[in-house]
Amino acid sequence: MREADFELIDRFLQGDGTAFDELVRKRQREVYNLAYRMTRNAEDARDVSQEAFLQVYRNLSRFDRRSSLSTWLYRIVVNLCLNHLNRGSRALYATVDQHPDPVDLSKGSLARLEESEQADALTRAIETLPPQQRASLTLRVHHHLAHREIADILGVSEATAKVHYFHAVQALRRKLAHWREGT
């Protein structure tokens, strides 16, 4: 994967414009998914993903290949998301005002309803995590990165990355426990 990425970069730097398209197609879904899980908003995820690829385009010639393209790309996406969340995104404020859609009881069993409510509760709980914790959790659980790689992306020590992750999981547990007690 790493070599294939570098080959695409080489082709792009040699003037093959289609190589960048290929690179975007290859990485767009993981970039979008990461941005979505960070921002919890489809429109924000699209904007952040576009901006991330734009930055890749601008800086590909300066990419020193010490890390993998994924790590570099994730770092760009996470930085953009952190800036976005710090400024106050749509999703960040949605948590205060957003009410769940009315549930159509005729469509599913009680178990399905509970499952859907649990998923909603999880989404709301994730939205309340501080951005760095949210990043650690997403990179760990969904992108299967080692704590060392997450630390590299967040620009913190490995121990700090682990603590962010641990605190994120603990916070989610607490919030979901409250939700269970409330149901």
Binding site: D21, Q55, N59, R62, D64, R66, L73, V141, V169, R173
Partner: protein, 235 residues
């Protein structure tokens, strides 16, 4: 092993990252402790739940539109960075058309300059060149808001050709990438302007909205040092 010691290790146990010796200790504790076993199951269930938390599939045609739109932005940016002289003049012309006060101001400034230059002694003016900004830059943040950043040479580095040095809010920053990093870490240009009021940047080419991704380990360390210093000086 105490329950408090075990809690932090449960996640590592679930992820299979606990060293063998600690693993046996934790497992032995779980055999005897119902509370920690319940804790273990709760973490396990939670991580399974987080894992299946899916991203909604974008609408059909989303990815085609995504690439198309990205390529348009790249094209627009390339065009913006290399304006043709004719396009530039047209732009300036249309800009001035709607600014009669500015035109009047420029005319007054031109007359004043003529008086100062041609009639020395009539209006003696002293210009403190050390303090005068060389230029200002409009930096547009990611939310579209623009800020003016003064770009000045430091007096003691005025003629320095190599080893470019920047200054952000009174802090000397040695590398362009670190300058960008500082600005990004502070939440972008908007936040920088809000929090530090005025950013004095020593070189006119800095593009703070560029990527920070080219930072290597050493640069990152320098950045962190700078950031901690900035935080200290702010508090």
């Amino acid at each position: 092993m105490r329950c408090d010691d075990v809690e932090f290790k449960l996640l590592e146990l679930i992820e299979g990252e606990l060293p063998a010796a600690q693993r046996s200790e934790v497992l032995a504790h779980l055999d005897d402790c119902a509370a920690c076993t319940a804790e273990f199951s709760a973490y396990h269930d939670l991580l399974t739940l987080v894992q299946v938390d899916s991203v909604p599939e974008p609408s059909p045609g989303f990815w085609e539109e995504f690439l198309l739109s990205l390529k348009q932005r790249i094209g627009q940016e390339a065009a913006r960075r290399k304006p043709t002289p004719a396009a530039w003049l047209t732009g300036v012309g249309s800009w001035l058309t709607f600014r009669p006060r500015l035109i009047a101001g420029l005319a007054v400034a031109a007359v004043s300059m003529f008086i100062v230059v041609r009639l020395p002694g009539v209006l003696p003016v002293r210009v403190n060149r050390q303090a005068a900004p060389v230029s200002t830059e409009r930096l547009v943040g990611q939310n579209g808001a623009a800020h003016t950043v003064a770009v000045i040479p430091r007096s003691d580095r005025r003629n320095q050709q190599s080893g470019e040095t920047f200054m952000v809010a009174g802090e000397v920053v040695e590398e362009p990438s670190i300058l960008m990093a500082v600005i990004q870490r502070l939440g972008g240009v908007d936040e920088l302007a809000d929090r530090l009021e005025t950013a004095w940047v020593l070189r006119p080419e800095a593009d703070p909205v560029d990527s920070l991704a080219s930072l290597n380990e050493e640069e990152r360390q320098v950045l962190l040092d700078h950031l901690s210093h900035l935080r200290m000086s702010e508090s």
